[in-house]
């Protein structure tokens, strides 16, 4: 865990106290101070530092602490306290207190910058208390959702004190940094001391410090030992872009600040009142291989700027705005610092041909509709010593589907698409992200050792479950199964707190044939696993499914935040059993269904299918990420109490082109019967369709 070692190294650093480093740093600060003195109006502070240096008998640390204090006092007039009225109590998993928080004056006219974290609870009103005690109402002018800062404006009666800024080029890793907030006292800033840890963090957007950064100083400045501003403190996360991401690292020794120089450059855009968003190209790198991949494009989303500009999978990006790039990380770093609306010039090689195009980054890519070949692939068995797969074997062809029309038959092996060989199912799914229904896909297949060329016109994902029974999903194992773990109905502990879950592993379990996992959220109260097992046993044995039944914390309803149990439970099962990542499904009815839907939205990297009976989505429905397709199966009874809300959920999900099947349960709400479960199981058996 990163936090552990960073924090450890912080204490170790302070504890070791290597004299040479300290003297040099102090000397740098002192000489720096003397050089700067002529330029500065306030020299009193610097005098004290300089005098202290002259008095060589005094301990270094005494002078250092004088410098920390002086630095804090020097910037303090520009550090304001922010108070808010109203707003939400909880955002995500973070419980919001009522503040106060911190901001920094960056314009004498009343321009104030703070952290987006401080306003994510959407307060009804914002008040600023200036360092001299004056209180003013503030307007939130704009938010930067890429660097997570906000611009506030107050009507100042007189010019406000603006601090001195340190350019990025003058920053040195290892220099003293002091993080300043006004969360405790209105009249005195709170300070935390550390060093500059890095200058190009979070894809080049932030500088990093080991000083304690937390809601006690988010929005406040990170200053150098002379009180000059290096940046504005914010929580940030390398993987998430929302204003509370990164707060889990508070006080850990990993703290971030947006460079003040960058903020000054952004001010004119923010002052126009338009929010800034991360800029998207439509080029997609799977997170799993991001850090090892070169700059060859794995997939380009249709209707995206990169797609329109003519970039395609396989093109190798060589430069962005004239800057040479060789790896996926470098490409991401170049794009991440830019905003929606920014132009960007991308140069790439397609074979030996050089392509260079300018495109405009966008805030949102038009919603994507998944294409469908109409094929179920064969799954296994898993063979560790098998060479890399050289194609995907067809298990089932949807009647009248695109593949059937193109003449594909069960047993054919799909070898390549658009002239590019695609070894396994994951490669096919990634490649299909470049197409939409209606596009023509040139294919090469192998039938009885003979290669054939075909053209397949892609269709939309089906909205019904195949009516006939499907052929087996895998061939029987040829080798003797190794020792296998326990099967049958088991209890497993999986969460730090809370009840163990019931887990049913079928008799047919074979470690060489990965199983799907069906997490069934039962109605709250007494759980009768035997009833569930009776309903599901046959499907589990035939289709190789593990049934998992967790229990709700409360006796009346499932809480949406209990969605977090699902990854914990699946991970626990995957520790002991071979799990098929393409068939992980969460099911529930009513409040359990709402949790299942939430899990599908929140854990799209894990959950492949969601079944919800008489249940609706709580809160807003996020735009789906095409690279993480989750299939939804919503069943609703006409006279269900929530029928209206379910219909709204369905309408919104259709608008976003979610992969969605709707089943009519009839007039009155009812429990799922054996017949329903058989259809459901068949649907689960098709989740790895392409």
């Amino acid at each position: 865990m990163g936090i552990v070692w960073r924090f450890a190294s912080k204490l170790a650093f302070v504890g070791m106290h290597v004299e040479q480093h300290e003297s040099r740093r102090l000397w740098e600060s002192v000489t720096g101070s003397i050089a700067a003195a002529a330029l500065l109006v306030s020299v009193a502070i610097l005098n004290s530092v300089a005098c202290a240096a002259a008095d060589a008998g005094d301990a270094l640390e005494v002078r250092e602490q004088q410098a920390f204090r002086a630095a804090a006092q020097r910037v303090a007039p520009s550090v304001v306290r922010i108070e808010t009225v109203g707003g939400m109590e909880r955002v995500g998993d973070w419980l919001f207190g009522m503040g106060p928080t911190t901001g920094l004056v960056l314009g004498a006219d009343g321009t104030i910058v703070s952290s987006a974290f401080n306003f994510v609870h959407r307060p009804a009103s914002i008040l600023v208390r200036l360092a001299d005690g004056t209180r003013k109402a503030a307007r939130l002018i704009a938010t930067d959702y890429n660097r997570m800062i906000v611009l506030l404006k107050i009507d100042a009666d007189r010019p406000l004190p603006v601090p001195e800024i340190v350019p990025l080029a003058d920053m040195r890793v290892g220099q003293w940094t002091i993080a300043i907030g006004r969360a405790f006292e209105a009249d005195q800033p709170n300070l935390a001391v550390g060093v500059l840890s890095a200058t190009q963090r979070i894809w080049g957007k932030a500088i990093q410090t080991d000083a304690a950064v937390s809601p006690n100083n988010y929005g406040g400045p990170l200053v150098d030992v002379q009180g000059r501003v290096l940046g504005v403190l914010v929580p940030l996360s390398p993987t998430e872009t929302n204003p509370i991401a990164g707060v889990e690292w508070y006080d850990s020794g990993i703290g971030f600040a947006v460079p003040a120089e960058t903020i000054l450059e952004l001010l004119p855009r923010l002052q126009r009142g338009s929010d800034l968003y991360p800029g998207l190209t439509g080029i997609h790198w799977p997170l799993e291989s991001l850090f090892t991949a070169d700059s060859t494009i794995p997939a380009v989303r249709p209707r995206s700027p990169a797609h329109r500009a003519g970039f395609r999978a396989g093109d190798r990006i060589t430069a962005i705005d004239g800057k040479k790039v060789e790896t996926a990380v470098q490409v991401k770093q170049e794009i991440a610092r830019r905003y929606a609306g920014d132009p960007i010039r991308i140069a790439a090689l397609r074979g030996t041909e050089r392509i260079e195009r300018e495109l405009e980054l966008v805030q949102r890519i038009e919603s994507y509709e998944h294409p469908f070949m109409g094929i179920l692939p064969m799954r296994g068995p898993r063979q560790a010593d098998k060479p890399a797969a050289s194609g995907v074997k067809v298990r089932f062809v949807y009647p009248d589907g695109p593949a059937a029309k193109a003449g594909i038959q069960p047993g054919d092996i799909l070898v390549s698409a658009g002239g590019k060989p695609l070894g396994d199912l994951a490669a096919w799914r990634l490649r299909l992200l470049e197409y939409e229904p209606g596009d023509v896909l040139p294919l090469e297949i192998e039938r009885k050792g003979e290669k054939r060329q075909l053209a397949l016109t892609l269709g939309p994902l089906p909205d019904v479950v195949p009516s006939a029974p499907l052929p087996p999903g895998s061939e029987p194992s040829t080798r003797q199964p190794a020792a296998r773990p326990q099967v049958g109905l088991l209890r497993i502990d999986y969460a730090e707190q809370g009840e163990p879950a019931w887990v049913f592993v079928p008799e047919t379990y074979d470690p060489d044939q990965p199983c799907g996992v069906v997490v069934w959220l039962p109605p709250p109260g007494e759980v009768k696993p035997e009833t569930m097992v009776t309903l599901w046993k046959e499907s589990c044995e035939r289709d190789r499914l593990i049934l998992a039944i967790p229990r709700s914390a409360g006796p009346v309803r499932w809480q949406t935040r209990e969605a977090r149990l699902i990854p914990a439970l699946v991970t626990k099962i995957a520790e002991q059993y071979a799990v098929d990542a393409n068939r992980i499904v969460v099911c529930g009815s009513q409040s359990g269904g709402t949790v299942a839907i939430a899990a599908g939205f929140r854990y799209a990297q894990l959950v492949r299918g969601v079944v919800a009976v008489d249940a609706f989505a709580e809160g807003s429905i996020p735009e789906p990420n095409p690279a993480r397709r989750v299939d939804f199966y919503l069943a609703v009874a006409a006279r269900s109490r929530s029928a209206n809300l379910v219909r709204q959920t369905i309408a919104q999900m259709r608008k976003w082109h979610y992969s969605l099947i709707v089943q009519d349960l009839g007039a009155d709400p009812r429990e799922l019967n054996a017949e329903d479960v058989a259809v459901l199981a068949r649907w689960i058996d098709t989740l790895d369709r392409i």
Binding site: F7, M16, Q65, R69, V85, F96, G97, M98
Partner: protein
């Protein structure tokens, strides 16, 4: 962040520091003051580890303390750990002595123990000093109980972040102590650290480490210590056997009859969510609010300079003001802050 996770990284920090032996620290000091290892060597013998009873839900049965007299008076935090007849006090030299609880001031969360011994190294409370924000300090405690054998307690190094008062905002801290504290820029307030000592780099006593405490204003854990000057009067009375629990100060006590929005003629919007902003729906004709010119849609933001972020907070804040007292109410009208002084009129009166 879960308690578990917080503890993991805090443990990591402490363990690392333990690994740095005094010898490696180098001779930072000068001819004038003691070096850091010298300071630590002088302070360590004054520290003690205290073992008593565990609390509910597996809470630790140990904490920290320090000697304040040559004849064995120990200053520590008042907690459930001391709620036993068998308190073990371990001195820095490994001696295990029986501790007797002389007395405690629950208001300050401080207790005094006595062990039978003589000529002990100790801190002199009368010579405790005050420090300022930015000053570097050392914290000594048996945090997490890692000093398990005949070994001295853990030393941490950091900076004073600020001196503030725990009662700066009502309801922010669940602590009976309401006075000044030093907020520390170091991860000090962990299980078992309560009762530890905060000293200057020269070894002068500054403060006693407090218990674990969460700041409800922003949901973060707080690192803090109580200045010795706040504890000294009670500690000396306990030592002299003359301690009488002081009555709550008037300012921290709710009046028997406090203000309500109705008494002032304030009609608030319906309080529908957890943090409904206190907008005025109307004022009662001829009430104090109406006479002062408050209007519908005014947003009440301060009551006697205290922020009221919600209808609930406004009602709570008014309860603390005697109904007979005038109160300054500040409202936000558009982008303008307007302050008025309101005096409740007795019901039925004019």
């Amino acid at each position: 962040m879960s308690v578990w996770r917080r503890r993991v990284w805090r443990i990591a920090g402490l363990v690392t520091l333990l690994c740095v032996s005094p010898g490696e620290a180098g001779n930072v000091g000068t001819a004038r003051g003691p070096s850091l290892p010298e300071t630590i060597a002088a302070v360590q013998p004054k520290m003690v580890k205290i073992y008593g009873v565990g609390g509910p839900q597996g809470m630790e049965d140990y904490q920290s303390g320090f000697l304040i007299s040559a004849e064995g008076h120990v200053l520590t935090a008042w907690s459930y750990v001391l709620d036993t007849d068998a308190i073990d006090v371990r001195l820095a030299d490994g001696r295990k002595l029986a501790g007797k609880l002389l007395g405690a001031d629950p208001r300050l969360e401080v207790a005094v123990l006595k062990v039978e011994a003589a000529d002990l190294p100790h801190f002199d409370l009368a010579r405790a000093v005050e420090v300022e924000a930015g000053e570097r300090v050392l914290a000594l405690s048996n945090a997490f109980g890692v000093a398990v054998g005949n070994e001295p307690v853990t030393v941490q190094q950091g900076t004073v972040s600020l001196k503030t008062r725990l009662d700066a905002r009502r309801g922010a801290f669940e602590s009976p102590y309401r006075g000044p504290v030093y907020i520390l820029d170091m991860a000090t307030n962990n299980p078992g650290a309560a009762g530890g000592a905060l000293v200057t780099r020269r070894g002068e006593l500054v403060a006693m480490l407090g218990k674990e405490l969460r700041n409800a204003l922003n949901n973060t854990w707080l690192n803090y210590a109580i200045p010795i000057g706040e504890l000294r009067p009670s500690v000396e009375q306990i030592r002299a056997g003359k301690f009488v629990l002081r009555r709550e100060e008037a300012s921290s006590k709710k009046p028997t009859r406090g203000l309500t929005p109705e008494l002032l003629g304030l009609v608030l919007v319906p309080d529908v969510v957890e943090r409904t902003p206190p907008f005025l729906e109307a004022t009662v004709p001829e009430s104090a609010a109406a006479v002062a010119g408050l209007r519908p849609d005014d947003l009440i933001v301060f009551v006697n300079e205290r922020l009221v972020p919600s209808c609930k907070a406004l009602k709570t804040e008014l309860e603390w003001i005697p109904a007979v007292d005038p109160v300054t109410v500040t409202v936000l009208r558009g982008q303008e802050l307007v302050s008025v002084v309101l005096e409740a009129r007795p019901p039925g009166g004019r």
